[in-house]
Amino acid sequence: MLVEKMNINNHLQKDNRSQKQISIFIKRKRIFLITFLIVIVLYAAASIATNYDAIKGLASIPKAIVWITKNLIPNEKSWERLPKILSKLIESSLLSVAVTVCAAACAFPFSLLGTRTVKVNLWIARIVRITAAFFRNVPSVVWAILLLFSFGQNILTGFLALFFTTFGMLTRAFIESIDEVSSNCVEALNAAGATSLQTVFHGIIPSSMPQLVSWILYMIELNIRDSTLIGLLTATGIGAMFDLYYKRMDYGSASLVVIFIVILVIGIELISNKIRKVIM
């Protein structure tokens, strides 16, 4: 009798368990279905709002490829413009390096005030984080429009527009890297009686430098791409160059600009990946 009862109990338990497993599957399926539906509804609503036609979108790709292969080919006339294009390209890449370096130089001391590792003051840290969020989230386009008012179509307009966003992004990245990498050794230095400036120079800088340099390299890549857009708005650098040829329908020269931008971006990505591999 007793053995039978136990057997039945066992069976019941097994049943329960498999039911639970099934219900997990059903739950997962349901979550998947709901997400899928939400995505489709969002897609449909967004298409209506913007008058977007997915079929037209797909159809435009082969059309664009045909157009690119027909028109976006450098011709003889455009090769004559090469020196001018190259000088603008150098200007834009120097701009993005200068922006990133200056923003990093400002962001590093600023981010120290926002880290948990240095622990300056809870309120100062909070203010630093909010300031960084503000600068990061005001799109560089807005800065560009604002700066055009008083700086005009000047290279400094582009410089400052990129600077503010870069400053905000680097501050956050630096805070996170420092808190992740340096908190342990800073604790030890504090315990040995080091002052906060000493912990910065002997703990934070040596331990987090590779991460910080890696972020700087990444921001340079990003800024070279963004400087094209900002250049369009502020009529400086390589972006303006492209805009000029494009509006004149001198597609040969415009294509040359595109080709060199792509080469530059890929080149910089390769170099910074190499550096990253060595230092990390």
């Binding site: 342990n184 030890a188 315990a191 040995a192 910065v200 040596p206």
Partner: protein, 256 residues
Amino acid sequence: MSIVEFRNVNKIYNKTTKALTDVSFSVEKGEFVSIIGPSGSGKSTILRCINRLVDATNGKILFNGYDVSYAGKREIRQVRKKIGMIFQHYNLVERLSVIENVLHGRLGHKSTISGMLGYYSEQEKEKAFSIIEKLGLIEQAYKRCDELSGGQKQRVSIARSIMQEPSLILCDEPIASLDPNASKIIMDQLNNINKTMNITCILNLHQVDVAMRYSQRIIGLTSGKIVYDGPPETLTKEKIYDIYQSNEGELITDVG
């Protein structure tokens, strides 16, 4: 005179979590004391209250007769430079050389500027070398710390704290991440430092057997309260079970 004295110390984290409740004890100069107890019983908090990495909520903590709980920034620095600290995860600046990490022990003795720029005297450098030679690390002097094994790293952090010329060394789980062989070397070194240099050592330990073999005195801590304080000889099995609040036979420990 006792070197460290706790008088009715309480510590409450985030206004709700009680870490220490009415803790009172004193440690005499030259003692080798181990604090044992389950994880989260407040062992680390006790150590960190002494050098003010953590601020006690109330009560008195005396170091050499000086009440550290009211110390300002400058006074804390004066206290800290006399107290060495050793951590479970070594807390070295991994990308710097061994000798640089050892010299970090001198930062507390320097002015902000000369420490910041890393001006160490030749005498200090020689002392650093002589310390790591005694700890058997002279071959590794110019290696970066991330190239060392765990036991070697912990010896570097011992060297760093000796470099401070401390009168007290706090060890927060010094052997918790080490294999038995490296653990023995570290414990022997600490014991040696305690005996030859008359430096008081207070250790947090997870290994009851290690604590019993090396210490002159054991403090048992259970959820923030001291439940045992005495020599290892009178620490019976029952008392250990009491400290860890577990039933007999459930602990993996070789009490002998």
